[in-house]
Symmetry: C2
Subunit: 928 residues, 2 copies
């Protein structure tokens, strides 16, 4: 049903395109000039500074003027074209326009003069984004265009001209969204060289190994000059190329020279492509602030170049757009080469691998991921709590602030970590504002759902054991909201001030808890670990627990064993080397399989440039000055903790690296909670800190990493699937992004690492897997950011980052059964909220939006208020084809069984179809 | 009659102004925002590069886009205003516009939205320009505006915001042209400080000591911020001030801050001025290429600042123009302080005197002056030869090319010598093209007047004794055209190859000539000096002489006496120190007065900055590193020459400085022909070369220099007439511009130096006068030109410059009787042309346009074709009030007596009125 719908739309689309595309000359070489601007949604300046043109001393850029100017220039000649990309900016601009300007713009859109391409809120990063947030940000942008311009505003091509490498999952999403094609600018220089020689600059990207072709097939084109004009033909105010000087009465008349140079450039470019149509991107970063010089000179160029046709020239230049260019390619009836891997890593030179940003700004990367979790909860509770969620006892709340903050954060200089420090601070601030607005909404919603209007607090600093309410209260209650569509277990650590607590669940049952003494530099307190693990908690659920502190009693139990004894519960056994205190082995007690496994922390010293290349390590580029990393310590200090719910080995490697190796009762995964920073740089070297697992798994150079948190791609050391690689950076050239998981395996065992943020990963040695955790650098890497990546942290002496890796050891064939739910559990984690005192007797302590958990294969991706009449529901099959015997099968789901009869939720159900990873509910909800 | 006419025009003007000026609020402080651009007619780029926006890598500037953009923005709101200044650019732009754009612009001009100010072809330099060329360039610009827009296009204010010091003669010209007022930006920082304290930023400039007030009175205003906006309010694309960020939903909302800063700046500025109206220049160099950011933000500023009036604010902001501002000042009925000296020299800091450019690029300064002479001849011969001058036997010729080249050359970074080298080359090239076009016209005209179509050549390199025709011909004839309205004597030096020549004048009489052996490095030839001196030659006249070389005879007479014997003819005796060979005394044999007079050449080493200031000497700035100059030589090598027409002492001071001291038979002036260069810089020091006269005249710190070649101003060492000077640069702070003459005097004697180009002059010691001749520098002076002033010259090793000073010794009361005609004779010098062979018997060998010479006081300033129906005639009284007993009197002239009945010439005569220095013919011819 849904596929049928898509095809029908496509057909009508092409019809529209034919109507608004410029005429070409079939017998000639047609040069499609595509006037465009590339407007970063934050980079050297914040998104708002870019919009207004504030702080132009940092970078001259003001998007308000770009749109003003382009709209004025398009009105002067119906032949002129412009494409616009970033809806975050267009939305801001539109909101400031008068009705008459809006009418003019609408007409320009209807006539095809102004065309939106890509159309998301931003042009997302492809290496460090999670697919759920990418889909959300695309939705936000596309919906605005659809609401504002209808079908005419619908982008037909995806346009990722700047991102530094391209994820297959992005292409898959674009294909499933119904884009006709995809264009980008950056790819590995060796890959580009080969493609130019073999005329493979344009291809069909088969972007999923799970979906049946052509569901995820996408025409993909590499643009000839990145996204810039050909040399000598940049007429933006930011450029210095000579204009067309066509008055013979003035000095420097240059028409003849320009025309012959343009014709020769066109012919040279045509030799690299398959048809008699070529495309030229006429624009670049923040160009067209003054569109007149661009259009005035392009008008003249077109006039004078085409005038040569009278003298036999076979070159025809025209204003065009990517979709019109694509339409001509379609008409050419060519066969295109097929591409099925991805475009990582990206290098623009032998020693210039853009693999550092996979890890850059790890705290921002985590905050962005955590914010997504809160946003999904916020969305769900907005639906479940009804209109009172947005305006209730705690004031006005909304999810829009967070939606926009998250959408902005997906930008390829946002979560990527490649922005200036003040801009990174701005992204974080926007997210924090999103949190504040969502927390009001959540409080309102929970008051509706629970019947309690007692204020709630959201202890955001539990990761550093800070929560004033729990620390100061004699009795408080905690609500746990689980945004997944199935039950999860979740351990909760709360800082408290007392020495003994009674903990009961919503039914009044006592919960197993333990008080643990912890030391932190800033807060030498004895705090407690609690673990109200609720294995069968209903899904999409809130649950309240009450914690009461009795009268003071004995001091807490503070374990402090200084030997690394094994950790062991029913599913997993973890051994440590008694001499070094390092991890030494892992045994899956269910499958009875063991591996030798050591783990340690290392750093690469950052290159400051050498004789081979001046390239430094920086926000974008990873370039170690040696392939051998330095160990932080070969023998960490050890302390251990054991009780009935958790066993820990705490390793202190140095004053700036520590780790807690933690095994929970009932867990099949090992948790490694690492703390890194401030990274010392007093020795004059920037450092890139990794943790490395070395096992006896025979991985033979292969390893695996996910694409945007969804499908998994095979990686191989010193190898690229589509060309004969000359490896010039043995470490950096083997790094790939992970968003949620990576693994190595052999015939028997698979060691999987699940992460809670995006990072860089590689496998340099047989049986090893290394993950870059943190970076602190002293040099800029000459890609424009103009700052060394050295985050100041709270005290200005360098950022401390804490994170977790979850480790599983399984047979390869059942690995996905573990890592899929584990990863989803990290992406959508429970939201805790706290209330002073005991719950009122009238409060409802537990509720669930679902009557029963969804089947394991089905993931509730989105439940969000669409408008006052309907909600958006996205369900997806979360297993790849073939990765799980148990779950990689088609699933039939009767939504009536799982949902309460909630009219809003069911409103969109007829559009939904579940099959493997497809998210057809999204397509139909947006484009219907 | 003429004064009456002017008053009538003024009244109608004010009426127009009332109609188009914006409303103000009488009870408030009215802030007149004046949107403007300052477009240099060449500086770092050539005028055409600036027009098109070529070579933007040198400087981002493209005037075509400025006018495009401003015209578009003015149409959006009738309240918006813009002023435009440089007609050289407007003319280029207008010629490329469509009829519909022209209609729009005409309407904008009629509505007062687009207002022309100043309106000359360029904004002329005030230190190194000659008044005749300033008047010509103003005429060219104003005429275009008048022809194109009529009365609405007429500029009402003069606007010299950038020139580096202000000449009184400029103000006088502006006053006589009917401007209502004059605004500028630069004046001495001490002067400005004082004027701000005393509220004397605005004044009446009484710009002539000869004309009866208020003929040369001009309201003059000093702008508050040079010509820039107040700090923080520059919204051009070239600026980085924050825009008005008025969306509270976005970060960086700044309306409150901007409004309060603007109000406080306005109040502070109002404290420096007398009325409740103040002006702010909203623009700067080449701004408004993208006018939208400017207007969009000014719109908002006006809106938000005026919105504060509802809260009691007394500040009212409005779009305005200088003439509307001036109208409000007129209505305020204030009395203004009176100013009667000038604004030289200009310093923007204690060690930053802009007195170097008085001399910078001496060869360009001379070429410009010589080009004016050719242009006047070209203009006259265009009239006298009739239409065949423009299209005749030698093809198409015109005077327009030279008119435009000369008009461009008047720009304050052209003849001033403060442009980049490639731009100086462009100015010279334009002049050379003007020469070529004029030479065709002159050839055509002379063929009409003489009846001979034998081709003519114009030996342009006679100053270095190069003329292929005279060097290679056995018989040739020479025509001398005298553009003055009275006879002159003029010596002619021609290079020849023979050893004996017969020279006859137009009547066949033998002329006294001498052959002289000369040595030059490049051409070791024996060449000849000829002197067909024709004391009673008719004026505006051509005269042909025939030179025939007889059979070879005895070798030429080559005098080579190695002792400095006195030079002496009937009027003058010149003595030399027998030990040193330097000049030692001068005696006027008519008046029997003598002075001790030594003369030598020196250089100042250029400062490279020192502890007091980092200021260097450069194209603009003169800053010697010591107040004591170095003598080039104290004992030059000497050779002498004496014959019946000339006596010479040739002094070789060094390989790079030489001089010929030359006295002609019948002359009252001594000629000093200096040759300087290449200035050696191998010692690492830039050098500024002067010649200094030291006499026993008791000048007591006083000296005199002309203003733009017309009236003379008194100068006094370490003194300014209008404020208490703190002298911080004892040499550079005492330099003033001369355009044609300077002198020192005491009760008995006046020593006058007449120059043939603009230079810098000072008198540092009692009885001394020093003139800077040449400069070669190794550092830039940080005023933007970005190049050291080191002209490469023909061989790349430094420029050689040759020039002349004419020296007279007279009683003070009769000095002007000599220097006025001497100076005019240098400004308008005869044009020589040569023809191979003897004149045909049918040729007319002599003609004159005048029946008799004009009276000595009357100078024919202009005779030029105005259109096909009429010619422009400008006559002026060339003596100042009181400077000459014989000639400083009113003159009555019956033009019918002096002119042939030539209808074109007489067409404008009814408008002409002669009185002292007034040029009322100009006024009436242009504005009638």
């Amino acid at each position: 049903l849904a596929l049928l719908l898509l095809s029908a739309e496509l057909a009508s689309l092409l019809l529209t395109a034919v109507l608004s595309c410029p005429a070409t000359k079939p017998s000639m070489l047609n040069v499609h000039l595509v006037p465009h601007t590339h407007d970063d949604v934050g980079w050297l300046k914040t998104v708002d500074q870019y919009f207004y043109g504030g702080r132009n001393y940092i970078q001259h850029a003001g998007v308000q003027y770009i749109l003003d100017s382009v709209v004025a220039e398009l009105q002067k000649d119906p032949a002129r074209r412009f494409i616009y990309v970033e809806t975050a900016f267009f939305f801001r601009w539109w909101s400031q326009q008068s009705r008459s300007t809006r009418n003019i713009v609408t007409q320009l859109v209807q006539e095809g003069c102004l065309e939106f391409v890509n159309g998301g809120w931003c042009m997302s990063d492809e290496a460090s984004t999670h697919y759920s947030s990418v889909i959300d940000q695309m939705t936000l942008g596309l919906r605005f265009l659809n609401d504002t311009f209808g079908e005419c505003g619908r982008p037909r091509v995806a346009w990722h001209i700047d991102p530094f490498g391209h994820a297959r999952e992005h292409a898959s999403i674009f294909a499933q969204m119904g884009y006709d094609g995809f264009f980008f600018g950056r790819l590995d220089y060796q890959d580009k060289d080969r493609r130019m020689k073999t005329k493979e600059m344009e291809m069909v990207w088969r972007a999923s190994a799970s979906l049946n072709p052509p569901t995820a097939d996408l025409f993909t084109g590499v643009l000839p000059n990145g996204y810039n004009p050909p040399p000598g033909f940049c007429w933006d105010q930011s450029c210095s190329d000579d204009p067309v000087q066509d008055d013979p009465a003035l000095e420097d008349y240059n028409v003849d020279d320009l025309v012959s140079r343009f014709i020769s450039i066109s012919k040279a470019q045509a030799a690299l492509y398959k048809t008699n149509h070529i495309v030229m991107t006429m624009g670049s970063d923040f160009q067209y602030e003054n569109a007149n010089p661009w259009y005035k000179n392009m008008d003249k160029l077109i006039h004078y170049v085409n005038a040569q046709q009278a003298n036999g020239s076979q070159v025809n230049v025209l204003y065009s757009t990517p979709s019109c260019y694509l339409q001509e390619l379609n008409l050419a009836n060519q066969t295109w080469p097929l591409k099925s891997d991805d475009f990582f890593p990206y290098a623009d030179g032998p020693h210039d691998f853009w693999t550092g940003y996979f890890t850059s700004r790890p705290a921002l990367k985590r905050y962005e991921r955590l914010s997504n979790s809160l946003l999904q909860t916020c969305n769900q509770l907005e639906v479940l709590g009804g209109p009172k969620s947005r305006s209730g006892p705690f004031g006005k709340g909304d999810s829009d602030t967070m939606k926009r903050a998250m959408a902005v954060a997906q930008h390829h200089d946002a979560v990527s970590g490649t922005e200036k420090q003040h801009v990174a601070d701005d992204y974080a601030k926007r997210l924090a504002e999103g949190w504040a607005h969502c927390q009001v909404l959540v409080s309102n919603s929970l008051s509706v759902l629970s019947g309690s209007e007692v204020p709630r607090v959201f202890c955001e600093n539990l990761n550093i054991s800070v929560c004033p309410l729990t620390e100061g209260s004699k009795m408080f209650s905690m609500n746990v909201y689980n945004p997944l569509a199935r039950p999860v277990s979740w351990s909760v650590h709360l800082p408290v001030n007392g020495t003994s607590y009674n903990v009961t669940d919503s039914s009044g049952n006592v919960v197993d808890t333990h008080l643990i003494l912890i030391y932190t530099a800033a807060r030498p307190l004895c705090a407690d670990l609690k673990r109200p693990r609720v294995p069968s908690a209903p899904t999409l659920s809130g649950r309240a627990s009450a914690l009461r502190r009795p009268s003071p009693a004995a001091p807490p139990l503070c374990a402090d064993l200084h030997a690394a004894s094994p950790l062991c519960f029913q599913y997993l056994k973890v051994t440590f080397d008694p001499n070094t205190g390092l991890l030494s082995g892992l045994t899956n007690l269910e499958t009875q399989q063991s591996v030798q496994l050591t783990q340690n922390f290392y750093w690469y010293n950052a290159s400051v440039g050498n004789a081979e290349s001046s390239q430094t390590s920086g926000a974008y580029i990873f370039r170690p000055n040696s392939s051998t990393p330095c160990a932080v310590s070969k023998k960490p200090d050890i302390s251990t903790l054991q009780n009935s719910v958790v066993q820990e080995v705490r390793q202190q490697f140095s004053p700036w690296v520590s780790q807690v190796v933690r095994l929970y009762e009932g867990s099949r995964e090992l948790e490694l909670e690492w703390t890194v920073g401030p990274v010392p740089v007093e020795d004059g070297f920037g450092k890139e800190v990794i943790t490395r697992f070395d096992s006896n798994i025979s991985s033979a150079g292969y390893f695996y990493s996910d694409s945007n948190g969804r499908e998994v791609l095979e990686r191989r050391k010193d190898y690229r699937p589509t060309w004969d690689l000359t490896q010039t950076e043995p470490i950096a050239g083997n790094y790939y992004p992970i968003n949620s998981r990576a693994f190595i395996k052999d015939g028997k065992a698979q060691l999987t690492v699940v992460t809670e943020r995006s990072q860089g990963v590689s496998s340099i040695y047989n049986g090893s897997l290394e993950i870059m955790l943190h970076r602190r650098l002293l040099r800029d890497d000459y890609r424009g950011v103009g700052e060394p990546l050295s985050e100041p942290g709270e005290f200005g002496n360098g950022l401390v980052v804490r994170g977790r890796l979850l480790l599983t050891l399984t047979p390869p064939e059942t690995a996905a059964d573990s890592h899929r739910p584990l990863a989803q559990g990290l992406v959508l984690q429970p939201l805790l909220s706290f209330q002073e005192g005991a719950p009122k007797p009238t409060s409802k302590l537990e509720f669930s939006a679902l009557q029963a958990a969804l089947p394991p294969a089905v993931h509730l991706l989105t439940l969000s208020q669409w408008d006052s009449e309907s909600v958006l529901l996205r369900l997806e099959h979360q297993y790849e084809s073939g990765e799980s015997k148990a779950f990689s099968q088609p699933v039939t789901l009767n939504l009536q069984v799982h949902t309460h009869t909630h009219s809003a939720v069911t409103a969109l159900l007829p559009c939904c179809l579940l099959y493997r990873l497809s998210l057809l509910c999204f397509d139909c909800s947006f484009f219907s």
